[in-house]
Amino acid sequence: MLVAGVGILAAFVILAFMAPYAAPYDPIFQDGTARLMAPSPAHPFGTDNFGRDVLSRVVWGARIDLQMAVIGVVFPFLIGTVVGTLAGFFGGWVDVMFMRIIDVVLAFPFLVLMLSIISILGPGLSSFYIAMALVGWVSYARLIRAQILVLKTQDFAVAAASLGFSRTRIMFRHLLPNALAGSLVFVMSDAVLVLLSGASISYLGLGVQPPLAEWGVMVAEAQGFMTQAWWITLFPGLAIVVLAFGFSLTGDALADLMGVRE
């Protein structure tokens, strides 16, 4: 499983890096003579309504979608981990404060909150990242906090305190590494969610702006032509599914590897 998952992810990373060489055409070049062409040897994935090569757009789209999945997960993960550790370790009013903030964030439906933040900040990828960081950290904070609460009463934590280690050291050297396994696994499934919400935000026109190639945007733009030219929606959609599958497989394998399910 690990091999398959990491293999898929690695393939996409290589594809993204090699995009200029791997893509047969310029992703935004419009060829007026070749609109809505079905897949053929010249255009293996066909062309869209502006005559752009779908294969090239899918390949270039990997750059943006991978970037979204990574940045969209890293910041929530970092913020959530720090907040969760502090809340769990110190307890008391620190804990109460962070937990109430989390309750407030969770009280709104995820997409509604994302959309309102992005519409305040204005459409674009950076707004998406900021919104993701503001909303996504809560799950990580909860996960880590619960782990820290359990771990801090265990003997090795008490032992560390009795040996005079500093609080920072106990928190980040002793407790956090033991608390991290669960959230590292969650990172992988979260990447799938981020990828999908990134695609949905772009679909709604608030994320990546045309003519930039992004899978969600491509699906959105092509929906009017679904009945005549299925290939324009199918291939970017498939790309999303396969990448998501790669993340899930890796997450599953990681969970086994780290003994999260024990």
Binding site: F156, A159, L163, R173
Partner: protein, 551 residues
């Protein structure tokens, strides 16, 4: 005479994905009518597995009985008959009554269930019979116990309730799997006494599984010693204890704390100031309560005054809930003190907290109960030790690795252990690593909190020996907290007895063990399981009237 229960050449094999392991190898044991058979062995010896195999309750499909048979009164049991035999002819009780009693069902209901199901009694008749059983197993108010839930009872009473549940179907044979391991010594003695009484009154045949030779010596008629899936020795208990044939049995007997003798100690230095001085120390915890309702307060440690002198080896003993662990944590500044004073080396913890804590962290170290839990699972033993050395800041970087090797050697571990993680160590090795970590501080005082309670008897003896060596030749002060008095008697020159948060007795080991001043200490001492089969359980003294029934 046909034995009541006979296990003949039983073998159980674990079939894993790629290998098959023999867990029980050709076991033959027999149990006569009205007899108590003690099945002794350390963890992993296969004693519990054997009983599960007999009951046809193997915990996994990968475990298979490959050879052998089980006979009741000469009749071979096959799997089809198991359903009727289980519960009906063979009853079973377990180590942990809390997890084997249904938490949402009343005790009475659980007993009547068996009566109605197996004996076909009506509801009213079942209730009457259940109350009779509760009386038999020693509930002072059986009617009320009938309508109570498991959580309303203490551990000892729960074990009694479980025995009543097992007896409900009127079995001929009772298998008791470590029935007293989770209980305090005085309660253990009561339960063992109860089992013997039941044997006499009902003619039960009992298989008693335990790791404590002392328990079998005083209750059983015959003993079978198990190790690594083999029965290494079995026989009549007096003969076996007096002249053990197998080297493992000899080692087990030699390791039993009631036979080893106290070690030599350097005399404590009472001329200078004490290492620890506690004055009217109180630790209270808030219990329950909410925003509007004020909760109760639990006084875990009540007005304890103690002086511990340099070089002393002090045992603090008491049963669970006596406040001994809380006391240790309060002394190290790990639990807030409610009132009173802790003075360490002349520094007052309440008045000058930062300075005292700094001194405590560099001069005192703690060893914990659960060896696996007390080491960071993600760090190797070497990393753990090196971290302590670095944080103390006294060892130059270049000397850290040699010092780690030296520490490992002090606790009897090879230096190759430095690269291993706790998970790959055995319990005893892990505990040694924990002691090495305590020694890394180069402490004047070590507080060991129940640090041998989770270990097998032979490993226990090794760790106690290690402590003895460490304290014999240095000025190290050892505060050894334990519920097992026999170990304390072997190791410590002074004993402090705690009961419900108070110090009830304090004196030299000899004085306390030979002439206890309070009835509680006397009862505790009498309840120590002794390997001498002629010494009655509980030393023949009547059971102490304990406020056990918490309804």
């Amino acid at each position: 005479m046909i034995p009541h229960l006979q296990i003949d050449g039983l073998s159980v094999v674990f079939r894993g994905d790629d290998e098959a392991r023999i867990l029980l190898d050709d076991i033959s044991v027999s149990l006569n009518k009205g007899e108590i058979l003690g099945l002794v062995g350390e963890s992993g010896s296969g004693k519990s597995l054997l009983c599960r195999a007999v009951m046809g309750l193997l915990p996994s499909r990968q475990l298979q009985v490959t050879h052998g048979s089980v006979m009741i009164e000469g009749q071979v049991l096959d799997l089809a008959q198991m359903q009727t035999v289980r519960g009906r002819r063979i009853g079973m009780i377990f180590q942990n009554p809390t997890s084997h009693l249904d938490p949402v069902m009343r005790i009475g209901g659980q007993i009547s269930e068996g009566l109605i199901h197996h004996k076909g009694l009506g509801v009213a008749a079942a209730k009457a019979e259940a109350i009779g059983l509760l009386t038999q197993v020693g509930f002072p108010d059986p009617e009320r116990a009938y309508d109570s839930h498991a959580h309303q009872f203490s551990g000892g009473m729960r074990q009694r309730a479980m025995i009543a549940v097992a007896l409900a179907c009127d079995p001929e044979i009772l298998i008791a799997d470590e029935p007293t391991t989770a209980l305090d010594v005085t309660i253990q003695a009561q339960i063992l006494r109860l089992l013997m009484d039941l044997r006499d009154s009902r003619g039960l045949s009992i298989v008693l599984i335990t790791h404590d030779l002392g328990v079998v010596a005083q209750t059983c008629d015959r003993i079978a010693v198990m190790r690594d899936g083999h029965v290494v020795e079995q026989g009549e208990k007096r003969a076996l204890l007096a002249a053990p044939q197998h080297p493992y049995t000899q080692a087990l007997i030699a390791a039993h704390p009631s036979v080893t003798t106290a070690g030599e100690h350097l005399p404590p230095d009472r001329a200078h100031q004490p290492v620890f001085e506690l004055r009217d120390l109180e630790v209270r915890f808030a219990q329950g309560g909410g925003l509007l309702r004020k909760g109760k307060e639990l006084r875990a440690v009540k007005a304890v005054s103690l002086r511990i002198w340099p070089g002393e080896t002090v045992g603090i003993v008491g049963e669970s809930g006596s406040g001994k662990s809380t006391l240790a944590r309060a002394m190290l500044g790990l639990t807030p003190i409610s009132s009173g004073k802790v003075v360490f080396d002349g520094l007052d913890l309440t008045q000058d907290r930062t300075a005292t804590l700094r001194r405590l962290r560099s001069d005192a170290a703690m060893v914990f109960q659960d060896p696996f839990n007390s080491l960071n699972p993600r760090m190797t033993v070497g990393e753990t030790l090196a971290e302590v050395l670095r944080s103390q800041g006294e060892t130059p970087e270049a000397k850290i690795q040699p010092r780690v090797a030296e520490l490992l050697e002090m606790v009897g571990l090879d230096r190759s252990f430095a690269t291993r993680r706790p998970r790959s160590l055995s319990g005893g090795q892990c505990q040694r690593a924990g002691i090495a970590r305590a020694l890394a501080v180069n402490p004047r005082v070590i507080i060991a909190d129940e640090c041998v309670a989770a270990l097998d008897v032979t490993i226990q003896a090794q760790i106690v020996d290690l402590f003895r060596q460490l304290t014999a030749h240095s000025g190290l002060t050892l505060i050894f907290i334990a519920h097992d008095l026999a170990i304390v008697r072997n190791l410590c020159e002074r004993v402090v007895v705690m009961h419900y948060g108070e110090v009830v007795e304090d004196g030299t080991s000899q004085q306390v063990f030979d002439h206890p001043k309070t009835a509680y200490t006397a009862a505790l001492i009498a309840a120590i399981p002794d390997i001498d089969p002629d010494r009655p359980i509980n030393g023949g003294t009547p059971a102490l009237n304990q406020p056990e029934l918490t309804l």
